[in-house]
């Protein structure tokens, strides 16, 4: 993970990534990493507002102003049975690396913890997307009965999306940050040895080799298991149904949001032509010049406010929505795995019963069946608790998402209101009458 001299982004003259004011900027980072008495104990929110995700994701990650109170926003989530938080993870500071073979982005993964499973209280490592992907695969393999949070899309079409644009990288960083926070938040996954390695190892590649390859084979079997399921418990069917319908709703919301953005852009096009007509008119007028120019500049302000709204929705709203669809896909896979495990158990049970008929005593088989039965019970229990957790997170996430949408719109209207209110005195203020020219 060499950190070559970070180069500025070439595309479309945008600011180099390291110049971007990051939610946890340089100064902030220092304060986050140095152990402070606050971190490691339970932190209640200031002002009693439920502002953040369970693991302290700030609400407004895009505005520098909010970042200064980032730590203040970390809050104990009441829904997680009073767990003490002792592991904090963030993803920040994307940097571009250029080598002869390839160009890629790395992110800094910063950890603060008091857990004994970690050698040090703090870590700061650089990881690239590949590494996150590795982690997720490992988690899926080693924790097959648990729901693993999703990653942002792996592949992007090179022509369509600029992989190194400010927006894309920031969107991805947010999603990766969320991924790690969800894992860190999970009572089982957060203790996974691969997660530990991911957070702490200087060089991840070395440990890749020691991959628990044996477990890989099992995961494949779980997903593609050829057992037929007899009777799925109602609660899991209900989960499946819910996920199907929920996905549908999310798809609809995504389409609506996109449509709104499109309509707003078209509105913007007309607005950009509208304002300047007032400016042109002002040139032909004397006493009306001031008022007309005032109206024109007001419209320009509204126009840029609309720009910001559209951009915020594109960057904050849509990606989160889409990521949830991925989350649901992961959940469905877990449900399927559970089905397979149950099916396997049922098949073995049947086979055992059949064999029991043939041979009077056979001690080995019941143990095998028992193991399967245990696995089923375990899986169901894990899944149920993961489901509850997922539902809770979903509720919080959507509350935040939709509240954010409302906030963006409120801000837009407030900006426009301010612009129009400020132009009223200008419109009302009459200049001293010019003296009339003499008649012939």
């Amino acid at each position: 993970m060499s950190a070559g001299t970070p180069k500025s982004l070439a595309s479309s003259g945008q600011k180099p990534i390291q110049e971007i004011c990051h939610p946890l900027g340089a100064e902030e980072t220092a304060s986050v990493l140095t152990p402070s008495p606050d971190v490691g104990n339970t932190i209640t929110s200031i002002g009693g507002k439920d502002l953040s995700l369970p693991n302290g994701t700030p609400v407004e990650t895009s505005s520098p102003a909010s970042s200064s109170s980032h730590l203040n926003r970390l809050q104990l989530d009441d829904d997680l049975d009073g767990e003490t938080r002792d592991l904090f993870v963030t993803v920040e500071d994307p940097k571009k690396h250029v080598s002869t073979m390839e160009t890629y982005i790395t992110y800094m993964v910063a950890t603060k913890t008091t857990r004994v499973e970690f050698d040090l209280p703090e870590y700061s490592v650089r990881r690239r997307y590949q590494d996150f992907d590795w982690l997720r695969t490992k988690l899926e393999d080693t924790q097959p009965t648990h729901l693993i949070p999703p990653l942002p899309e792996k592949f992007v079409m090179k022509g369509v999306v600029d992989r190194f644009s400010e927006e894309f990288v920031e969107t991805r960083r947010k999603a990766l940050d969320k991924f790690l926070k969800r894992v860190a938040d999970h009572p089982v996954l957060s203790f996974n040895e691969h997660f530990n390695a991911f957070l702490s190892a200087k060089d991840l590649n070395k440990r890749l080799g020691l991959a628990l390859l044996s477990k890989m084979g099992e995961s494949v079997k779980y997903v593609t298991g050829g057992y037929k399921l007899r009777g799925r418990p109602v609660e899991f069917s209900a989960m499946g149904d819910y996920l199907d319908m929920f996905t549908q709703k999310l798809g609809t919301i995504d389409r609506i949001a996109q449509r709104i953005i499109k309509e707003q852009s078209e509105y913007q096009v007309e607005l950009r032509e509208y304002g300047p007509v007032y400016t042109t008119w002002a040139l032909s007028e004397a006493e009306l010049q001031g008022p007309l120019e005032g109206v024109a500049s007001c419209m320009a302000n509204c126009s840029s406010a609309l720009d910001e709204l559209t951009q915020d929705m594109s960057e904050d709203f849509l990606p989160v929505l889409r990521e949830y669809v991925l989350y649901i896909e992961s959940m469905k896979i877990v449900l399927k795995k559970r089905d397979n495990i149950q099916a396997e158990y049922e098949a073995k049970l049947e086979a055992a019963a059949f064999r029991k008929e043939e041979k009077a005593s056979c001690t080995q088989v019941p143990t095998d069946v028992e193991k399967c039965h245990d696995r089923v019970e375990c899986c169901n229990a894990d899944l149920k608790s993961d489901w509850d957790r997922w539902q809770n997170n979903k509720r919080q996430d959507f509350r935040q998402l939709l509240t954010g949408m409302a906030d963006h719109n409120i801000q837009y209207y407030e900006k426009c209101l301010a612009a129009w209110e400020s132009v009223i005195p200008l419109l009302r203020d009459k200049q001293p009458q010019e003296t009339e020219t003499e008649e012939d």
């Binding site: 609809t252 707003q264 959507f398 407030e414």
Partner: protein
Amino acid sequence: MLSVSCLSALLLHTLERRMADAGNKESAPIGGDEFTNTELENNKNNTMVEEGSTLLRRMEISVAEAEKRTGKNTVNMQEIFTVYLIETRPIDAITEGHNPAPDSLWRRYSEFEILRNYLLVTYPFIVVPPLPEKRAEFVWHKLSADNMDPDFVERRRVGLENFLLRVASHSVLSNDKILYHFLTEEHRWKEVVYETGFQAKADSRIKALSATFRVKNPDKRFTEMKHYSDELQSLTSQLLRVRARVADRLYGVYKVHGNYGRVFSEWSALEKEMGDGLQSAGHHMDAYAASVDDMLEEEEHYADQLKEYLFYAEALRAVCRKHELTQYELETASSDLISKKQQREELATGMVRTFSFKGMTNKLFGQETPEQREAKLSLLEEQIVQGEETVTEKTVECEEYVKGAWVDMQRFKEQKDRDLREALIGYAVMQISMCKKGIQVWTNAKECFHKM
């Protein structure tokens, strides 16, 4: 010329009238006396004591209602048209404490057009207030371009009232007898107005306005004013076009949000704890989507104000053109006179100053007889005398025209500045209201999301 304060008072009066609804319906007719010319003159003189008094000071005017009628048109076919109720009441009676019922009569749009054409022809130096548009133009997608549409009819009613109020408060126009008849005599009015012979003048006016001719010494002020009227026309029509497109797009943005209402409702059925919050938020999204209809309907009033000045620009241009025509006629008469005088000189002295074909043929084919020359000379003398009269007339005409037109153009300029400023303020107020509503709805929705 009316002072600014008088105009402001009248404008306020106009605005109040516009905002008030139809008048009373008791019955007590105004005396239908016709004013003779002398009486009108006296009236003018008497009321001139109170500076800038106009018909509107003496009479309350409103266009109270609109109704559909059927009837036969000029080619004897059945048609449906709209008539408007004009109500008038003498102000004296009101201020004295009585409450007489208004006099009223019905007029259709075409009759207003006739009145306006009459005024244009009779007072060519006045920037005559325009009528509301004949057909709906600059419509945005959802509004209908149908003349029978009730919203269109209502806006037209307001526009017609506005026209009458402007005319009746104009220092010159308000004293016109035909105007008075228009407001008070339902049936004979058309005959009376045609008797004035304005129709012939109207036809020649139209020809004159579109004729091309070159004025040698144009009055710079009028040239500038004409140029300004062109600008005003072009700018207001551009503004109206773009505004309609903006309205269209804004409509789209709001309406799509209605889809959120539906999907939130569907989604809420799937949820347990989140359900209520989602459902309520969905209602707010529906309300948001529905709110745009009223807001854009209100904005039509702003569009109407712009349209009025779009048409006013035409009237202003006509005044400038008429001046050019008058000036041109004067110049033509002058140069005619000069050439006639030159001809006389040539005949008298025998010296040919200017080359003429006649002169050449004379030289080639022989001169005319002394008798012939005498006859020519006396004819020329007559023509010169006539020509001098004409030039004097035209000069006076031109001077008076310039005087009257300049005064009215200044009045128009002040009125325009006032009205458009008010229109812009009104527009800003509408935008502010729209923003506040937006904040309200989204704040409500946010509270619902919070409860999810």
